[in-house]
Symmetry: C2
Subunit: 342 residues, 2 copies
């Protein structure tokens, strides 16, 4: 008896489909169908199988399933850092979009490193992912090539680029910068400083900012590049450096809210009046931005919403629904608050 011979030597694997089938008195494939495609079996079959599954405590082996069917349920999501509230929000949105689906998101952190990104991508390829998501554009050429060859849906998020690998849902950093530039121009600020990253999306924000200012015949008098960490404490330090280098500075645009918040708090300690003496603006609209005093003028980016849209778009594609477009530009808004207006 082959079945019982197997049964006897069965500590390793646990309950198999075959065991359920035997208990239910049906064939293994019927169990498989009742579980994975309930619409294609009779009501009676469904019940018999459900009972047998409950009785045996059967748990499907997804590795076997994926191996045979060729359809994986894993979707790696690459995030620079999950400690960044915006990325966390985006991730939450993506995660919510896939709730109740057959897919699972696998987290992969790239820590802002191209090398790590490449490594992480390589390390998830053995899973034969159903799709891949990125919070941020894929920078490295090698990784882009790898992903194109993969021939699975690739979703890039956060930024807006004319040449995504495949699908894209993002904001235009240039637009955010431009909105702030126009706002500064309208307010009539002279002696303007920019502090934050000057590469990648920082570069786009800065370029947009300059563009916006240019409409008013203005330009930043000082650019303080900050490529390292950009915490609240760094914002305070940045403020001091800017005031050293540009003592009569009238307005500063920080490329992230954390920096701007740090600057506002330090300004209070230095008894510099914001916005009267110095106007301060941020980017991102953190929860705290509207609550601090003075409340922070900033660019609102709906990260959660973006993640949700991206997740839904990708899910639709995976469930082979019609897709109107594979590129989506999320709205972005200037939030004018008291840190730039009296």
């Amino acid at each position: 008896m082959k079945a019982s011979a197997r049964r006897a030597s069965k500590p390793p694997g646990g309950v198999r489909l075959e065991d359920v089938a035997r208990v239910a008195g049906v064939s293994p494939i019927s169990v498989s169908r009742a579980l994975g495609n309930p619409g294609r079996v009779s009501e009676a079959m469904r019940r018999k199988v459900a009972e047998a599954v409950a009785k045996t405590g059967f748990v499907l082996n997804s590795h076997a399933s994926t191996l045979k069917s060729g359809r994986s349920t894993l979707i790696p999501v690459f995030v620079s850092s999950i400690q960044n509230a915006h990325f966390a929000n985006a991730l939450q949105g993506a995660s919510d979009a896939f709730e109740g689906s057959r897919y699972h998101l696998v987290m992969a952190q790239t820590n802002y490193s191209d090398r790590l990104e490449q490594e992480m991508v390589d390390s998830v390829l053995p899973f034969k992912p159903a799709a891949v998501m990125f919070t941020g554009m894929v920078q490295s050429k090698g990784t882009r090539e790898t992903l194109k060859r993969l021939a699975v849906p690739v979703m890039e998020m956060w930024d807006y680029s004319p040449t995504p690998i495949d699908m894209l849902v993002g904001f235009s950093n240039a637009e955010g910068g431009r909105l702030m530039g126009e706002h500064f121009g309208q307010r009539g600020f002279r002696k303007i400083a920019y502090a934050g990253r000057t590469r990648d999306r920082g570069a786009q924000r800065l370029a947009g900012f300059q563009e916006g200012l240019a409409l008013y015949g203005s330009a930043p008098a000082l650019v303080l590049p900050m490529e390292g960490p950009r915490t609240v404490a760094d914002g305070g330090a940045a403020l001091e450096r800017i005031l050293q280098q540009l003592p009569d500075c009238e307005a500063i645009f920080f490329a992230t809210d954390s920096l701007a918040l740090g600057a506002i708090l330090r300004a209070a300690e230095l008894e510099i009046e914001v916005p009267k003496t110095l106007a301060i603006a941020g980017y991102g609209d953190l929860d705290i931005a509207r609550h601090i005093a003075p409340s922070l003028t900033t660019i609102h980016v709906g990260a959660y919403d973006m993640g949700l849209r991206a997740g839904k778009m990708l899910r639709a594609r995976l469930e082979s629904k019609e897709l109107a477009s594979t590129i989506l530009r999320c709205p972005i808004q200037l939030e004018v608050r008291t840190s730039t207006t009296p």
Copy 2:
């Protein structure tokens, strides 16, 4: 020719181990060993295989690998909400602990719901996970049973409990509450209020708080339960409700920093002097807590560090290293700042 027959019909699967073996002129099993157990093959073999892999662009199929070997590389991590900065930090720590290992963390959000937790746990069982991690104790009895039967390492984090399912790395919420109770007692506050969750870890914080106050013959005059969202805005609202119900309140302990920050900001608007008229304390030590004015007295919990320790402990177990203990209590600290001391 079976091989070429297969080759001809080979669009689906891509390059297989067998293809690499043919190119390298060795057997499939040798390729497998060269890749997964390089120590057990000769230098020459390793080089031949490496060349053939590069030439063919081979990517291992982890589903086949796991199916055959029975050793999965997936570790689901259950988090209530990734938007909570502490949990995000813990997750980052856990993620860092597994960097460079063969394991992959799969994110699963439970949104503070027992039902969802159970569902999510069930949904990852088909992966035959190598281990399971939880940020928080597993509450539901059903899930606890499921996990015990699973017979894989289970790591619970964040809280401290005498009866974990398996492994545990956490803080004592009761201790945090007690430290704050003692601090309030020492400062001689009367008319004391507590605001925040009063269930689960909130209950522990509150109990500890009461215990600490009791040492000074004191007790909370008001407990404001907040089981719903607890954002900065909610903290401001909570402050107002407390002042309505307890107008001569001298000190408030908020169970999270967000609430306390909201209260501090609202107090400034209401022109209530902190700490002179009203002392405010929080729990968690968010980045901003030390930067706000007045800086916030709070309980410091090293979430990143905890996640890192938990990840390392679990990794050691999976790599079958000796483990001194499977339970670890992380240090917790009272950070006395100006919001409770003049």
